[in-house]
Symmetry: C2
């Protein structure tokens, strides 16, 4: 299922494989020398195994660690007072979790495992200290955070301008792309989230998600069977996901 986090064959003496993982996220493509590597290594404390439905951190909790997803999938969920929820993002291996709390030092969302999952834990205080000593790390940290901002802004764009079919195309295309980059198949995969989660994330109701998937299947774009998706026409999906087909007046 995952030969994903297996690089850094050249680096010996790492305390655990989790350090490799966080290094991969935090330092690539920045260069890092063995000394600095070891320094970062010592602060990546441990990993946590989680099972489906487990909460990695909950809204309101004090920010103590950042996490790097190693394996499995997560969703970020915010709850309004009435208990209705909103999925603000999905997270796959190699992505960073916990940035939501940087602003207030308290988490603003729940992070929930969608599958069996596994993360590395990096105490933020320690990370800040090391970052202050290792310029490339500091820079890379800012970069990763910046990418999170870019992703959010892209999502804002989608939600304010795209219709249901476009949203689903973009969603599937992004998912495919992320799996591909993880070295898995980008053409055939199990989606880890429910229709409900997808709908919440895309600002659609579950029925619309379902109908849209059926339509895409009719059109020969994909094949769906429950949580299994096969992309039949990746080229066309790419076009649909990127074309400037505005809903609402441009």
């Amino acid at each position: 299922m995952s030969d994903v986090v297996e690089p850094f064959k050249g680096l010996k003496g790492s305390r655990n494989d989790c350090a490799k993982c966080s290094i991969q996220v935090l330092c690539l493509p920045a260069t890092i020398n063995p000394d600095d590597f070891e320094r970062l290594n010592t602060i990546v404390q441990k990993r946590r195994p989680l099972k489906r439905g487990d909460v990695l951190f909950a809204s309101g909790q004090k920010l103590e660690h950042l996490y790097v997803a190693r394996e499995g999938a997560f969703k970020s969920v915010v709850y309004n007072t009435e208990g209705d929820s909103q999925v603000t993002g999905f997270h796959l291996p190699g992505e960073i979790l916990g940035l939501d709390a940087l602003g207030t030092s308290k988490h603003t969302c729940d992070s929930v495992a969608l599958t069996t999952a596994d993360v590395c834990e990096i105490p933020l205080g320690d990370l800040e200290k090391v970052a202050a000593q290792v310029p490339s790390l500091q820079h890379q940290l800012l970069k990763i955070i910046g990418q999170t901002i870019n992703r959010d802004q892209k999502h804002i764009e989608i939600l304010s301008k795209k219709n249901a079919h476009e949203r689903m195309s973009i969603f599937l295309h992004q998912l495919s792309e992320r799996y591909r980059q993880l070295g898995r198949s980008g053409e055939r995969f199990m989606i880890p989230m429910s229709r409900e989660d997808i709908g919440s994330h895309l600002g659609l109701v579950i029925e619309t998600v379902s109908r849209t998937l059926s339509k895409m299947q009719e059109d020969g774009l994909i094949e769906v069977n429950g949580r299994e998706v096969i992309i039949r026409d990746l080229g066309r999906l790419h076009v649909l996901a990127h074309e400037t087909a505005p809903r609402k007046s441009a």
Copy 2:
């Protein structure tokens, strides 16, 4: 029009008033000692006056500085290939501009002055260096960035769950709150942006923005006259903006 950026009466010897301004944003409420202040002071290079429509930075430009808005208002706009645009955010005095470029080192949006405006300029490279030496500054920087992320996520929530009336209520309420915090009136203000800009930001067309404002006026919630807005019932606006009145199934 603005007695906004006038604090720090106790700090003498600052090279320019712009340093005060950026200090206010970057270091409050963190403590900073005079030495560190002076160090930060030296990197805040200059300020730029802009007039309505001027572009502070454009999409694709290399990231060189962060900016702190001192006076006036800005919008962030992204353009898709076809030239249709999307307003991703509005920025008032005291807010930071340019974070969009942290991820790729290139700006991903245009920042356009909506009014006569004024900013401080902080070279990012220098800022990183000083931040590495001043832990409280580094921490504060992360905090501000985190707040940007939180704001984006809030916006995502609005766009995926709120109807037109709720969006406008939230928009007006936020604007009122921001002006209040700047020491201006939160009950009577000129909105610096066009209906077009508002609509783009909220995922609505201009006609809907207009109609909704008219409806709110009918209801005695506000008074509108072109760009001038008077909040007539701030309490009710607050309720409308915060109540959990879901569009789409909770």
